[in-house]
């Protein structure tokens, strides 16, 4: 190995034998070595361990509410902690807050950009964040005065150099985590708009992120167009773990409720489960008849079920342990672009390019 090992990696100069091709080759060699190491402790498959578990019976889930009001493709949605309100965003720049239970619209804002691909509800329920082709993430406090123009109180928090693909508040209203088409993720202080930490490591657009429900609450996972899913330390900005087994863009990542694993949905038409302690992929959820990419995934409360929204307008329900598909839900008339379980697990909401959102239970 010609590469000289230096303790600090921040040197800017390239040594004569350190060409870009050499570096890339070395990186690829190490990645292969890593996969070999990971395979050594893989002594059993998930579905084998799950043989002793009872299979699931007939699965009946129906659309219980249909939210109509967006005039264009619904791209993203998020639940409020009160278990019934949601915020949704669409291609035409509209961001709407609904009481999904009554289907009433409570607030509406028109963003100055189209393709609002990210939106999030603040933990307090008093604000929403959103962004998209404007490369920014803005926070709107939810005013109850019907006459007040929400857009007037808008606060610009995050600034990326390309589109905003996802955003999420951390444990409070004071910090927002974002991912972007510029290949980075970033943590921001809402009050000052200051960048607190940036996360570099993806080799292409980052499309999704999810915060870990762990005790020490300091990590999150992101997925991107480089087919990688990266786990990050929010404090240091370092990438702790990386997984590269998908064959195409990763559109969605979501932690397993215990925080010990996460699922991903990809354009390669599969969903996969990655265990963080075993440090490897442990399950693939796929079927020959499923041709289109999975755009959005989420677990049921116990983690037994994985719901996947797909680009073929359907929602597939997977038995996480046995690896089989338990149900396929029809209803949407165009791509399912977003899917999330409600905070108490009583239902999940799906948003689609057919302009509607549906609540399933």
């Amino acid at each position: 190995m010609i590469f000289s090992t230096k303790p600090e990696m921040a040197t800017q100069e390239i040594q004569p034998n350190e060409t870009l091709t050499n570096l890339k080759a070395e990186s690829d060699t190490l990645k292969t070595k890593l996969e070999d190491e990971r395979a050594k402790l893989h002594d059993v498959e998930l579905h084998q361990v799950a043989e002793k578990v009872d299979g699931l019976g007939q699965f009946i889930m129906k659309t219980r509410r249909t939210l109509k009001g967006h005039g264009n493709k619904v791209l993203c949605m998020d639940w409020c902690k009160d278990k019934r309100r949601i915020v949704s965003s669409s291609q035409d720049g509209k961001v709407i807050v609904w009481d999904a239970f009554t289907t009433n619209k409570e607030h509406a804002v028109t963003m100055p950009c189209t393709w609002v691909m990210a939106c999030a509800y603040a933990p307090s329920g008093c604000a929403v964040a959103c962004g998209g082709l404007d490369n920014k993430c803005s926070v709107y406090p939810l005013s109850l005065d019907k006459n007040e123009n929400l857009a007037a109180k808008k606060k610009s928090v995050a600034m990326h150099t390309n589109y905003l693909s996802a955003c999420s508040f951390t444990n409070s209203d004071m910090q927002i985590l974002t991912s972007s088409g510029d290949g980075t993720c970033a943590l921001w202080d809402v009050e000052s708009g200051q960048l607190l930490q940036s996360f570099h490591g993806h080799a292409a657009d980052v499309l999704c992120l999810d915060l870990a429900p762990s005790e020490t609450g300091n990590t999150f996972v992101s997925g991107g167009c480089d087919k990688k899913a990266n786990v990050w330390d929010m404090r240091s900005g370092q990438c702790i773990q990386s997984f590269e087994t998908h064959e195409s863009d990763i559109n969605s990542v979501r932690y397993y409720p215990s925080g010990d694993a996460f699922a991903s949905g990809s354009d390669d038409a599969t969903c996969r489960l990655y265990d963080l302690r075993a440090d490897r992929e442990v399950a693939i959820y796929s079927k020959e008849s499923i041709i289109f990419g999975a755009s959005s995934v989420d677990f049921s409360l116990s983690g037994r079920l994985l719901f996947g929204g797909y680009n073929d307008y359907t929602i597939n329900v997977w038995d996480v342990l046995k690896g089989t598909r338990v149900s396929i839900l029809f209803g949407h008339e165009n791509r399912v672009s977003t899917l999330r379980l409600s905070p108490d697990g009583t239902a999940f909401c799906s948003g689609s390019w057919d302009h509607t959102l549906r609540i399933w239970a």
């Binding site: 059993v44 578990v53 409020c80 939810l142 951390t170 480089d226 409720p257 265990d275 302690r277």
Partner: protein, 472 residues
């Protein structure tokens, strides 16, 4: 025939992946041994060879993929929508009918992946042909497109008309069956690539996405050095055997099975199904008596207890009895520091030091000397994470010591005993009578109300209640 997928624009690239897979299905369908049985189909008076019925397509899909009829209809429908199979009857309607309607496979020349995006020249020739063949055959939006193209590529218009005439002449010399097939094929291709405005556009794409080959990220020496460093660290990490990790998934699912409303239902009923919000009302933060499931959940893990505000309150009461409440207070204060505004960090660090860490502090926490020393040193340059070590120490102290004892305590046992198990709501006798869905106060309103209360209190007797005053 196939164009290099990888260099295509980002948004097209994701579609191409699916198109390739659909093509594999189509090829399998035409396999001489395992594929579909095709025959001649009658279209009015003409006999079209190598065709199949909608039913045939669905049956084959059911057999091949072991799926239900509904799923087969859906999948087959997508194959038609994307132009891989086209209808011979009613060619403008790209739907898969589950009857004996005749369909044919699209020729690979016209596959969506082959010529995408469609060229203006090809479109112009197609429209010109239609126009020449029969006056008034162009539909409104086609007429519009035609005149737009005429202006835009006017310099090649002679070529367009010449090509159109030539192709029409050639088609006249074909047999009627072939002519019909070629017209249908071409029409299907254009219905997909230039759909009527407002109609469903299957090739509608999202915003441009870049992958590694066209990345905006600088894949320079630093990037690869970072990857190398990361891989080196990862090689040295401790891994757990799969058999141990995967067992934990079984345990977790089993433990939470009855708490998962989608798996086990919820009591008294799922609000989304019954329109009855009781399930939410009996599980609020401030409810007098909690449900049994809720109290049980506190015993699953320390995090479950702390995440439930009622659980946290109960635990605090217990700790006060044990004279170790300062631990929980310290942990809460550290959480507030970590997740609060940047501008308040210095103030909060001072408060925490004064209340919990300073010698002789009112609620002094017992941290090991090493951590204490490190923390006190760090306070000189306060930042958001300065209390992390101390906070973790106290968290694990509570988790290993106070928490297990709480679960064995009378306080917890009493809570569990008096917790309610709601009655399952009987299904309504008149199921078609929908309950009224009541709205709830917005969380934004609740906070505003508490703010307003504060203001009213401050205003005094001569404040906003002027009307009541005048009555007196």
């Amino acid at each position: 025939m196939t164009i290099n997928t990888l260099t295509k624009g980002g948004a097209q690239r994701e579609q191409m992946y699916c198109l390739r897979k659909m093509e594999r299905v189509i090829v399998a369908m035409q396999d001489p041994d395992m594929g579909m049985k095709m025959r001649n189909q009658r279209l009015l008076i003409t006999v079209i060879p190598h065709a199949m019925t909608g039913n045939d397509v669905i049956e084959w899909l059911i057999q091949k993929y072991n799926i239900t009829e509904e799923e087969a209809r859906h999948l087959g429908g997508l194959l038609v929508q994307y132009g891989y199979i086209y209808p011979l009857r009613e060619p403008r309607s790209l739907l898969l009918r589950s009857d004996d309607s005749p369909y044919r496979f699209q020729t690979p020349y016209f596959w969506t992946s082959s010529r995408w995006p469609a060229t203006e020249l090809d479109y112009a020739i197609y429209l010109a042909k239609k126009n020449i063949r029969k006056q008034g055959e162009l539909v409104d939006y086609e007429k519009e497109n035609y005149s737009i193209l005429h202006k835009r590529i006017n310099h090649t218009w002679d070529f367009v008309v010449m090509q159109a005439r030539e192709q029409l002449r050639a088609s006249k010399q074909r047999r009627k069956a072939d002519r019909i097939v070629l017209e249908c094929q071409e029409q299907a291709y254009w219905l997909i690539n230039k759909p009527c405005p407002g109609a469903f556009d299957v090739l509608d794409l999202g915003p441009e996405r870049c992958n590694v080959l066209s990345s905006r990220v600088a894949l320079n020496a630093d990037h690869y050095r970072r990857e190398i460093e990361h891989s080196r660290r990862a090689l040295g990490r401790n891994r757990v055997k799969s058999s141990i990790c995967l067992e934990s998934f079984m345990k977790y699912s089993e433990q939470y099975l009855h708490h998962d409303p989608i798996m086990s239902g919820c009591l008294p009923s799922n609000p989304w199904i019954s329109d009855d919000t009781s399930h939410w009302t009996i599980n609020t933060d401030m409810v007098g008596i909690p449900t049994r499931l809720r109290v049980e959940r506190w015993s699953f893990s320390f995090m479950e207890l702390l995440n439930d505000s009622m659980g946290r309150r109960e635990f605090m009461i217990y700790l006060e009895k044990e004279f170790s409440a300062e631990n929980l207070c310290f942990w809460v204060a550290c959480e507030d520091l970590r997740h609060g505004e940047s501008s308040k960090i210095i103030l909060k660090v001072e408060e925490v030091y004064k209340n919990f860490l300073a010698p002789g502090a009112a609620r002094w926490v017992n941290i090991d000397s090493k951590t204490m020393e490190r923390t006190l040193e760090g306070i000189k340059r306060p930042h958001r994470f300065i209390m992390d070590d101390a906070q973790m120490h106290i968290y694990f102290l509570m988790k290993k010591d106070s928490y297990p004892r709480y679960l064995k305590s009378e306080l917890y046992k009493n809570m569990l005993a008096k917790a309610i198990v709601p009655q399952e709501t009987k299904k309504s006798v008149f199921p078609f009578m929908r309950r009224q869905r009541h709205s709830s106060p917005s969380p934004a309103m609740v906070t505003q109300a508490t703010e307003d209360d504060g203001k009213a209190k401050g205003a005094g007797p001569t404040g906003t209640s002027s009307t009541t005053n005048s009555q007196i």
